[in-house]
Amino acid sequence: MNKIEVRGLSKSYKERRKKRRSPGDCGYRHGCPVLQDLDFRIEEGSFTCFIGPSGCGKSTLFRIMAGFEKPTTGEVLVDGVPISGPSTRHIFVFQEDGLFPWMTAMENVALGAGRFSDPVEREREIRDFLDMVGLKGFENHYPHELSGGMRRRAEVARALIANPEILLMDEPFGALDFITRLQMREEMVNVHQMFDSTILFITHDIDEALQLGDRIIMLSGRPSSVKADIPLPFPHPRDLAIGEMASLRKEIYFHIGIHAAL
């Protein structure tokens, strides 16, 4: 069943300048087109990875799907209904730090726990979720007292406890070190198996996309459109070094112009 339907979606940033800032200035005279005629459907409960060159409009696409911004033309339907604005039904995990620095880990996660009306139950759920992401003992720490990886995990816990129908993750692990990223990747596979949320996930890391996704949507450079749509019907855990995964991996690297995949 289709959860999300993106139809003829285009976005240009309106800023028009009379003066050219540089020879190929994007905002000169016309608005700067970022997304052009995107069309795709996302199946309920699936895990879709988005890859594409930097600045191609991935975050813009996600901001529109989360309801923070309006498209220039086209529409995004969730369960057949156009998105009207931000909602706890689709939670965004931001590319940059999205925890409130003035709240402890627990208070931050409590933001997502509004659906529990009984305070005792709510507190127990919050503790369970913090525990699940390995933050037991850090409930009362402020974000600046946590490591980068712990902050990301707290943010994921805050998103998951809201039990969103859609989870939009914009390069959530981009700023982490390699080992931590691998650990977070594993946790995301578990999350996908444990929760029913439809997950949309931006990454620059092709291996990450191959490890996590049920499907990869590859966007072209700005103005961006869907360049390739690759299903990944492989069971977890996945080994990228052998079999079909390995050849698919080579193919994708080839697609983006890197001919000697490592």
Binding site: F68, D97, A162
Partner: protein, 254 residues
């Protein structure tokens, strides 16, 4: 060790400054009526303290600064919030504020004297003016510079109504507000001395101008030192606020 160094360094620098002062007075053979040495000033300080005049001057000045600053805070922060949040209010009032802001509070002294006469009310009014505009601008720009991510997170998690202000807006701007208070209180303390030289007949500013008129340079310098000490104490008091756990994040992030 770090703590020790923290306490030792200012002691050394102050000690050296006093020694240099004494040495300069002796070497250049400056007469006490032109500029007194540290011992003469200490003597004057003791005299002022024993006569009760020092204490009375300090309380008079602090009384005015406290009231002026307090009233300015009560008026500027709410208005700054409104101007930060509500675009039309900003479009309407900001030009006026920016026009009035660069007019030194000292330029208002004649107006204050005309309206309010010599006395506390004039001085408090001048302190109010000196604090009101900077605090207003600090508050407004703090609201305008809140990270858009925080606003989006709030919308995303359905933080609405009054909670938007108590859980997001106010905590997000609190560190900026405290910095604003700190800087503004420093300015207020600068202005009170000048105001007291003209608009009233008590307080530390008056102590200094009166010392000059009666050729007591030792009183003048003693007054200056008291101003410095109290300025430090005020700044230290407000800087404690920056250590609150829900405010400390700003420093840590850099």
């Amino acid at each position: 060790m770090a703590l020790k160094g923290l306490h030792l360094h200012p002691l050394i620098s102050f000690g050296l400054a006093i020694l240099a002062w004494e040495a300069a007075i002796r070497c250049l053979d400056v007469p006490a009526y032109r500029f007194p040495g540290p011992l003469a000033v200490a003597e004057a300080m003791k005299e002022l303290a024993l006569s009760g005049r020092l204490f009375a001057s300090i309380t008079a000045s602090l009384f005015r600064v406290t009231w002026g600053f307090y009233l300015a805070t009560c008026a500027a922060i709410p208005l700054g919030l409104v101007m930060g949040i509500y675009g039309p209010a900003r479009a309407f009032l900001n030009p006026l504020v920016q026009f009035l802001r660069p007019i030194s509070p000292l330029a208002w002294i004649p107006v204050a004297l005309m309206w309010l006469g010599i006395g506390d009310r004039s001085a408090i009014f001048l302190i109010f003016l000196s604090s009101f505009f900077p605090l207003l601008v600090f508050t407004m720009s703090a609201v305008l510079s809140i990270k858009v991510t925080y606003i989006r997170v709030g919308l995303n998690f359905g933080v609405t109504g009054l909670k938007r202000y108590t859980k997001i807006l106010l905590p997000a701007i609190l560190p900026d507000i405290i910095t604003g208070l700190r800087i503004t209180l420093g300015t207020a303390w600068l202005v009170i001395v000048a105001a007291e030289m003209i608009a009233v007949k008590s307080g530390i500013g008056y102590l200094i101008i009166d010392g000059r008129n009666s050729m007591r340079m030792d009183y003048v310098v003693a007054g200056m030192i008291v101003i410095g000490i109290i300025g430090l104490a005020l700044d230290w008091t407000i800087s404690r606020l920056e250590m609150l756990p829900s405010v400390r994040w700003v420093r840590k992030r850099r």
